[in-house]
């Protein structure tokens, strides 16, 4: 089978929980991780007679997300009931937007310049959480329900089937995640479920006009799962076409451990959801002034930050991309530059030792234990020759652990670089005395061995000697 004969077409449905304090249609708390069934009321429990009251902030964040993703916001949209029977949905319908979504026609631009079009962005409410009780998932005879999540506001973002490789899918998701995080509309954490992804995948022979049969993939709990599942489906579907077999229109479940997708059920058609306008909710009418006010309040988005770092601060594109992984990291970096830190050294320390430390400790960037003031002060100490870059690495760890200023740490621990001639001279003399053979080689013209001697001096001084000075002094002492 020639792989290149087939083309992959993927559309993604992304659900993100909007970062409101209360739910979409009632004022129950949305807090993640609260004890089961403590944030519920007659509305989100679907009790008879309860009426939904829409959350202004959810609408504002939905508009913010739409604008951040280059969508056109509809000034008038509507809520519909999506009917299905499942225990995590106590009303037996989900309030969503079907016919007239909040926003349409956006896009996410990939590094290649290719635009993945967004068909629509709409508001809806989340379902509760169900767990299967019993021996295991296949023999469980009943389910346990927690309705804390029932009614949490969601934005569903549906792309056109423009994605043509697992890598493009990943980039699209990463770009979207960063953008929404910078816009402040959602936590967008896959691991906590505040960002969820479903894929619609089809494969066709290259050059064929008609799209292949769409297969829906579920249970994709990480970006890695998305790329693996897509690669698997591409393989499976192109093999079926090769064998002249029919591809079923169905929903498949990604099995992370086995690395395969398994058939779950035939895909429902939208007709089965029997959508109709929710009679409890009049039209959502917005005006231009409101949209403009949201646009004005838009924080800087990753693309703009990258542009600024590259074109104004002169950072390499790579650095700019790495730093924009998190808005708090960007804030930290900006503050360092404001304080007079040189962009490239600051970026080097952030991308190197600081990120390594943060990752190793599993810390999040909203609480970096080192302050921008202290990092800039440390860079100053290096520049002024008070400490070497090598010693600075140890100082930084101490800064992380104690929160102290680098100057104080250097003083307390006696880490200043040794530059005074008298102290250096003693160490240099002892190294020369201890290595007569190497010294002889250097005298005979083997210039390279000097590096070894410098290294010995650095070692003897525990890294505190000023290497430039050591170099000069060794030469003088041996050759004079």
């Amino acid at each position: 089978m020639s792989e290149t004969q087939y083309e992959l077409n993927v559309g993604l449905e992304v659900h993100v929980e909007l970062a409101t304090a209360s739910k979409m249609f009632c004022r129950c708390k949305t807090k993640f991780g609260d004890p089961p069934n403590t944030n519920v009321c007659p509305v989100c429990m679907g009790l008879p007679g309860a009426l939904p009251v829409a959350n202004e902030e959810a609408v504002r964040l939905g508009v913010m997300a739409a604008l951040a993703l280059n969508c056109r916001v509809n000034l008038s949209s509507r809520f519909d009931r999506k009917n299905y029977f499942y225990p995590d949905l106590p009303k037996a319908y989900q309030i969503s937007q079907f016919e007239e979504p909040l926003a349409v026609s956006g896009y996410v631009e990939l590094a290649s310049g290719k635009r993945i079009r967004i068909r629509r962005l709409h508001l809806e409410e989340d379902a509760g959480k169900s767990m299967h009780a019993g021996d295991d998932i296949t023999t469980a005879s009943y389910s346990l329900l927690d309705y804390n999540r029932s009614g949490v506001p969601l934005a569903e973002i549906v792309s056109e089937p423009d994605i043509s490789s697992p890598e493009e899918a990943r980039e699209y998701l990463e770009k979207m995640q960063r953008t929404l995080r910078f816009a402040g509309v959602s936590d967008v954490k896959m691991e906590e479920g505040s960002m969820r992804v479903d894929c619609n995948v089809s494969v066709r022979r290259k050059g064929e006009a008609q799209m292949g049969v769409p297969v829906e993939l579920k249970n994709l709990s990480s970006f890695r799962a998305v790329t693996r599942a897509l690669a698997y489906e591409y393989d499976r579907q192109s093999r079926l076409i090769e064998q002249g077999k029919r591809i079923a229109r169905e929903t498949r479940h990604w099995d992370e451990d086995k690395g395969v997708t398994v058939s779950l059920r035939a895909k429902e058609s939208s007709q089965d959801y029997r959508y109709f306008p929710d009679p409890d909710l009049p039209r959502l009418e917005l005006d231009e002034a409101f949209i403009e006010s949201v646009q004005r309040a838009m924080p800087r988005l990753p693309n703009q930050v990258v542009d600024f770092y590259v074109n104004v601060l002169g950072l390499p594109k790579y650095d700019a991309e790495v730093l924009t992984v998190d808005p708090n990291l960007v804030k930290f970096f900006d503050r360092c530059v404001e304080l007079g830190g040189e962009p490239k050294p600051v970026s080097n320390w952030l991308m190197g030792d600081i990120m390594a430390y943060m990752n190793a400790k599993g810390l999040s960037y909203d609480t970096i234990p080192v302050t921008p003031e202290n990092l800039v002060a440390m860079l100053g100490l290096i520049k002024d020759g008070v400490i070497s870059g090598k010693i600075a690495k140890d100082v930084l760890i101490k800064m992380f652990e104690t929160g102290k200023a680098p100057g104080d740490i250097v003083k307390e621990e006696g880490l200043e670089q040794v530059s005074d001639d008298a102290s250096l001279s003693v160490i240099v003399d002892s190294v020369i005395a201890a290595n007569p053979e190497v010294v002889a080689q250097f005298k005979a013209g083997k210039d390279k061995v000097l590096g070894f001697l410098v290294g010995q001096v650095m070692k003897a001084s525990k890294g505190r000697a000023n290497p430039a000075k050591v170099n000069i002094m060794l030469r003088e002492k041996i050759l004079s």
């Binding site: 949905l89 479940h253 089965d272």
Partner: protein
């Protein structure tokens, strides 16, 4: 118009006997007939309405959390519960929920 009662029952997760299905098919057909009559009305130039109230524009509430129901009360409303959870007979296969559910 013919109604596929079996399909509708499946969507509603209802198990019906042949007898019930025949009866419901008749009921549903008479409801549809009424709708057909409404369809015959001339509504040329009449704006569609989706709600019964006078409010034409969705009123938005401030995002201020308020306490809901105490858990004991919530669990009392459910036919059965276990610990802090509502418990229900298991439905379909794992993850067998339509879009939006998990």
């Amino acid at each position: 118009m013919k109604i596929d009662v079996k399909h509708v029952a499946d969507l509603a997760r209802l198990k019906l006997s042949e007898d019930e299905m025949r009866r419901l098919e008749k009921d549903l057909e008479s409801i549809l007939l009424r709708m057909e009559r409404l369809k015959a009305l001339d509504v040329e130039g009449v704006e569609p309405t989706f709600g019964a109230g006078d409010v034409q524009r969705l009123v938005l509430d401030q995002d201020r959390p308020a306490p809901g129901l105490p858990r004991e009360e919530v669990l009392k409303l459910a036919p059965s519960s276990e610990g802090p959870y509502v418990s229900v007979p298991r439905e379909g296969t794992p993850g067998d929920a339509p879009q939006g559910s998990e």
